[in-house]
């Protein structure tokens, strides 16, 4: 890290606490608040399921067994196994599909934020730093995109590009960039006039170095808060698009597509097909929102004394 960047960090963090001290404070605040602990524990479990789902799943999530379809939770499955959370309309194990679904839903959530965040941060930095016509072009593009309802835009893109995990990530990511760009632009407009940036210029740093090594590190904190909320909204969007049949291919289990498949059987009282993926979506989104709230409070200097 350059001296200029270090100076910038000092400016944004006048108390000068080290990483270890901040981490200890983060844990202390989280324990005191309690709810963020539950959120972190649930998200760790979901991440564990996403990573190790293939080993944890008692059945192949796509293996059909028509004669054992719509079995209730705890019913006997094939080969002496048990359908812990029941089976679906094709006799596939709901628990195994839920584990695999975690992988797709979380991957799509994080990957889309990475795509959207990267585009938005670069666009915001360029708009804020250079101003003028660069700023105008980038921000008007953002305004045009925001003029369309996001879900409509996503449907249009997916109809043209076709469904699939990568297309879904692309569409959801592109849908998020404006949020990041606006925040980054506003912060960059303010930071580019600061003394430490002027100092970097005076010392002959190149423009890319000033943008990415001096300014960017000083605007990351609010972006992490935005990203935590955004993951939740992207997971919901994935669920909505999968529900509409525009998400991933039908043989790939996701929580949204599982919810969609439950539509026709809900009236027939096969509640487990809707409840389990629905609860998984709800808890994940809730956890990210709680985590985002905590992160916002934690990073807010005005609340620092209270925490």
């Amino acid at each position: 890290m350059s001296d200029h960047t270090a100076e910038g960090l000092v400016l944004s963090n006048p108390r000068g606490s080290g990483f270890r001290r901040e981490a200890e404070r983060a844990v202390r605040v989280m324990v005191n608040a309690r709810w963020p602990i539950f959120a972190v524990v649930f998200l760790l479990l979901a991440a564990f399921a996403a990573v190790f789902g293939a080993w944890l799943a008692p059945f192949d999530p796509n293996r059909q067994n028509l004669v054992l379809r719509l079995a209730a939770p705890m019913a006997a499955g094939p080969d002496g196994g048990v359908f812990w959370l029941g089976s679906d309309a094709l006799g596939r194990d709901v628990f195994s599909r839920l584990l695999y679904g975690a992988r797709v839903s979380l991957t799509v959530g994080f990957a889309a934020i990475t795509v959207g965040g990267t585009i938005g941060i670069v666009a915001g930095l360029l708009a804020g730093y250079f101003g003028g016509w660069v700023d105008d072009v980038i921000m008007r593009l953002g305004d045009i995109q925001l003029a369309f309802p996001f879900i409509l835009l996503a449907i249009m893109f997916l109809v043209v590009l076709g469904s699939g995990v990568w297309n879904l990530i692309l569409v959801l990511g592109v849908g998020q960039w404006v949020t990041y760009a606006r925040i980054v632009r506003a912060d960059t407009l303010s930071l580019r006039e600061k003394e430490f940036v002027e100092a970097a210029r005076a010392l002959g740093d190149s423009t890319p170095s000033i943008i990415f090594r001096t300014i960017l590190p000083n605007i990351l904190a609010p972006l992490t808060v935005i990203a935590s909320f955004n993951v939740a909204s992207v997971i919901l969007s994935e669920a909505a698009l999968s529900f509409l049949g525009l998400g991933v291919p039908p043989e790939v289990p996701t929580w949204g597509s599982m919810l969609a498949e439950s539509r026709d059987t809900l009236v027939a009282n096969k509640w487990w097909l809707a409840v389990f993926p629905g609860v998984a979506i709800m808890l994940t989104v809730l956890s990210f929102n709680i985590l985002g709230d905590w992160l916002r409070d934690f990073l807010d200097p005005r609340l620092r004394e209270r925490t």
Binding site: L66, L90, G245, P250, E251, N269
Partner: protein
């Protein structure tokens, strides 16, 4: 166990509770409400093609003869038909005193105008009448002989031309000459017992009775695409009849005490098509299915009775050909489910499993939401084919705007899932899908001369028995080396309110004329 028995009632009670919150209003006594799954697009007689669209149009437009639920053709606007000795001239004699909805007398001149207008290439009509009926019968011309007699000429003798011509909707000349094509599409002036009162696109069509037959003053056709919503509306009493009930919802409807489900053995032929076009032969797996031995092997790979039992909630016998029973070749037996035999035949055909356990990859395309439980049926078929070593690249598409254009261009495949409407009144009607190699309904591009070269023998057979022999030989070829992986005749599920007496038909015709309050 006790709890399980009460589940449908619990589900129905829950549904009723939810419906009570949103409110419900039972239809008026002089109105019957029908809930359809698919939207309708036009009332232009030359453009109507979907079954739901035709079901509504059938109440607005009468025809010369009509088809009964039992598969008989009986007089409607005409009372007699004379066919020339060479079989190319059909003379209909109309009933006296006919009128259209605007009061204009309906004469032979009007009937001739209807036939010629639909066939006029300038109008570019693509509906069932020009696209299927007229191409099948080789329509040439229609001419009024006097006020009551009209002659229809066709290119050559055709044993089912009379039956096909019952599908032509009759209307009057003056009203349609005064309208543009766009106006005619939304302002039908028909000859049937109901007239169009209102049409809210995507939502509702209301018809008003103008003459007999019909026991209700109004028929409201509501478009309700989502299956659970249709079921909820039926149980709430907002709708009297619904089509395409999902099998999983049958118990909830029957347990509601307010409606019951009628299940009929339908005539729609469900199959997995092998697209044999040159273009598809160059695609992965497309070369494999060119070999009739591979197609035959795959017949043994799919457990059709289990699909029927588990996914359609009915017991069914697998189809032996494209002809509805009992009109098929009686000597044919359905392919049994025998995956070992399928694997052996695939080995013999030269498509052995590779190191990864796969014989060949192939794309399977299907639309979704059109047929009973279609997505699950397609997923099940894909699983069965993968079990014998195929690697299936499954593409499920939106039905109307994505899959239908592919079908229309005969581009779906190399494997594709489809159901085509059939009939009970003649085996030839069902076989007409494959009248020519280039027929629009030959979605497979199948060109086996043992089938297509036999049509003149069918037409020229001197006796019904002689014709039957030819048909059976053709159906044997279709069974052994045909372009369809044979599945089932789709059962149809109708939900019917307890306040209504109405009987569902096997041919998907939803006719309300005989429906009445109990």
């Amino acid at each position: 166990m006790k709890l399980r028995m009460h589940m449908p009632r619990v589900a129905a009670a829950g549904l009723l509770g939810a419906i009570a919150l949103t409110g419900c209003a039972e239809p008026l006594e002089d109105t019957i409400v029908v809930g359809l799954s698919a939207d309708i697009t036009t009332f232009e007689p030359g453009m109507i093609s979907s079954r739901d669209n035709a079901n509504i149009a059938r109440h607005i437009f009468a025809s010369l003869f009509t088809l009964t639920a039992e598969g008989e053709h009986v007089p409607e606007l005409a009372h007699t038909l004379e066919i020339s000795d060479d079989g190319t001239s059909y003379v209909y004699t109309l009933n006296e005193g006919l009128t259209c909805h605007d009061g204009e007398p309906l004469t032979a001149e009007d009937v001739a105008y209807v036939f010629n207008r639909i066939a006029d290439p300038a109008n570019r009509f693509t509906g069932n009448t020009p696209g299927f009926v007229f191409t099948s019968i080789g329509f040439v011309n229609a001419e009024a002989l006097d006020d009551l007699r009209v002659r229809v000429d066709i290119a050559q003798k055709n044993p089912i031309a009379f039956g096909l011509m019952t599908e032509v909707y009759i209307h009057c000349k003056d009203a349609y000459e005064a309208m543009t094509l766009d106006e005619a599409a939304s302002n039908p002036v028909g000859s049937g017992s109901y007239r169009l009162a209102s049409w809210t696109r995507g939502s509702e069509v209301v018809l008003e009775k103008v003459r007999e037959p019909g026991n209700f003053q109004r028929i409201a056709w509501r478009i309700i695409p989502e299956a659970s919503t249709r079921t909820a509306e039926l149980i709430a009493g907002n709708v009297d009849i619904i089509t395409n009930v999902v099998p999983e919802q049958v118990e909830a409807i029957d347990g509601s005490g307010r409606a019951e489900v009628q299940v009929v053995s339908g005539t729609r032929r469900m199959y997995l098509g092998f697209n044999l076009s040159d273009e598809h032969a160059r695609m992965p797996g497309g070369d494999a299915i060119q070999d009739p031995r591979v197609r035959r092997a795959l017949q043994y790979a799919v457990d059709v009775p289990t699909i029927c039992r588990q996914l359609l909630s009915v017991e069914c016998e697998r189809a032996t050909s494209l002809v509805n029973p009992p009109n098929g070749n009686a000597s044919l037996t359905p392919y049994p489910y025998d995956p070992e035999r399928a694997e052996r035949l695939l080995d013999e055909a030269g498509w052995r499993r590779g190191a990864n356990g796969t014989r060949f990859s192939i794309r399977l395309q299907a639309g979704q939401g059109r047929y009973v439980n279609d997505v699950n049926v397609v997923l099940a078929i894909a699983q069965y084919l993968e079990d014998v070593g195929l690697d299936i690249d499954l593409e499920l598409m939106e039905w109307a705007s994505v899959y239908t254009p592919l079908l229309r261009e005969r581009q779906a495949g190399p494997l594709f899932f489809l159901g085509t409407g059939g009939g009970l009144w003649s085996p030839i009607y069902d076989m007409t899908d494959l009248a020519q190699v280039g027929s629009g309904t030959n979605y497979t591009h199948w060109d086996d001369p043992r089938w297509f070269d036999r049509w003149p023998d069918v037409v020229n057979a001197e006796t019904p028995e002689a014709r039957r022999v030819v048909l059976d030989e053709m159906l044997q070829v279709f069974h052994d080396d045909g372009p369809w992986l044979l599945l089932y005749f789709q059962p149809d599920f109708y939900g019917v309110s307890n306040r209504i007496a109405w009987q569902a038909r096997r041919d998907e015709h939803v006719e309300i004329f005989e429906a009445r309050l109990k």
